[in-house]
Amino acid sequence: MDIDRRLHEAGQRWRESQGPALLPPSAASLGEAAPPHKWRKGLAPMAAAAAVAAIIFGFVSVHGATTGSRPLPAGSVTTPAPSVSSPSTEPSTSAARAAAAAVAAAEAARQRAVAEAEIARRLHKVTSPPAADCVASQLRPSLGSAGAAAGTGIIQILLQNVSAERCYLGGLLPLQGVTASGTSSRLIFPGDSATAYPSPVVPGNVEPGNVGAFWVTTELNGCQRGTRFAQLVIELSPKEHVQMPWLTDMSSGCLYAESAAGPFAQPIPTIP
């Protein structure tokens, strides 16, 4: 297809996928613009506090009810959300309107990570106590999903438990790249794992047929493409290595950070 048309169509699809326009600061908050950042300084903690409150007061449950697409494993322990009524969402002043918009934006930004973290938390609850550590023969690696935005690439790597026994998966798994000639190199991630894509998983047992996951983030701007190896080796332990074909997405930029691994919800939830 003609690249110009393809870009036009991609742009059109992107615009259609976006929500409504964000709100500008209100006239009242503009009036507080001097000294600089006063408005934002006041609002940021408010937005953060509201987001934390949303998490604590069962925002996930509300979200789950609206999407209705997040089945939990059999035997899941569900915690009912406390019946705390949230403040009215109808802002009475322009400042309140701006605050409400910021709170909504903060909630949207955390929506996905929070929902997935809740799934992982519940999964963890029913899979404790820990089983024996996963070994290479139990796990089948595959590419989960990958994407890029604003100069950052994200690669999700899945590890499916193909054995009949549950096994324990957790922590940062060292990675190696192996060239076609067999030379292996330890992959270096300069970024702290805490700055990786917020991993929704916690260490725990991967049930038979279920998957574990971890994420690799890459930086795409201002750096040369990384080495394209032939194989990717995931070290479960010094002696247990899982091997898979090299993921081309990992060569499209500089490796930046790796997240911790752990069991992931099964079936893999549809990301809203």
């Binding site: 690249i3 110009d4 393809r6 870009l7 991609a10 699809r13 992107w14 615009r15 259609e16 996928s17 976006q18 326009a21 964000l22 709100l23 500008p24 600061p25 209100s26 006239a27 009242a28 503009l30 613009a33 600089p36 950042h37 408005w39 934002r40 609002l43 940021a44 910021a102 934006a105 949207a108 930004a109 929506q111 996905r112 999903s145 990958a146 994407g147 890029a148 935005a149 604003a150 100069g151 950052t152 690439g153 970024g191 702290d192 805490a194 700055t195 990786a196 894509y197 917020p198 983030t217 930086e219 795409l220 701007n221 081309t248 499209s252 930029g253 930046y256 950070a257 990301i271 809203p272």
Partner: protein, 180 residues
């Protein structure tokens, strides 16, 4: 092309229209669809709203510098927004937090049609900055060539040639990936 991006700049905003907070807010409301798109394409993930707030406050603070003869209010505002976006990217990079702020532009939302758009996004992200700017502004923010030129302080001809270079680069890399 959406009518918002194309028609809004044609209305010249006068200095007087920016003098009161209410009228300034009204002008902002008018251009927010384009401003939002620019922020979502250029600001670090999760920071679009913060960048917009910073840009709006900066625009209000320095509104006396706006000259309608030099370009539309939308162009002036988007230029401030781009500067704020790059400043935020720099800050995040220095703090090592850029890669942690990925939540609000989910992978699925970024490339709704699957691997084809995702591949394009990856290639665009890897372009040199100027080429990426014109591609983002022209194809994704949906600004006309003339306005992209005003925004970046270059001629329309340069925008067109940069677009052509960027398209060639993307085409070349696409071909390379398809054959590898």
């Amino acid at each position: 092309m959406s009518s918002t991006a194309q028609d809004a700049p044609k209305r010249l905003t006068s200095m007087a229209a920016l003098s009161s907070m209410e009228s300034f807010s009204a002008e902002l409301d008018r251009i927010m669809p384009v401003v939002t798109r620019v922020a979502r394409r250029f600001a670090p993930l999760g920071d679009a709203d913060d960048v917009i707030q910073e840009a709006c406050l900066a625009a209000w603070r320095y509104r006396h510098r706006f000259d309608p003869e030099q370009g539309s209010f939308q162009t002036w505002m988007v230029r401030i927004l781009l500067n704020e976006s790059y400043k935020t990217v720099g800050r995040r990079r220095r703090n090592g937090l850029l890669l942690g702020r990925l939540a609000d532009r989910s992978l699925s939302a970024e490339a709704p049609s699957g691997s084809s758009d995702r591949q394009l996004e990856t290639l665009i992200a890897g372009l040199p900055r100027r080429q990426r700017e014109v591609i983002e502004l022209y194809y994704f923010v949906d600004l006309p060539v003339q306005q992209v030129a005003e925004l970046l302080g270059i001629s329309s001809g340069t925008v067109k040639s940069t677009l052509a270079d960027a398209r060639r680069s993307i085409q070349f890399r696409l071909a390379g990936e398809e054959t590898s």
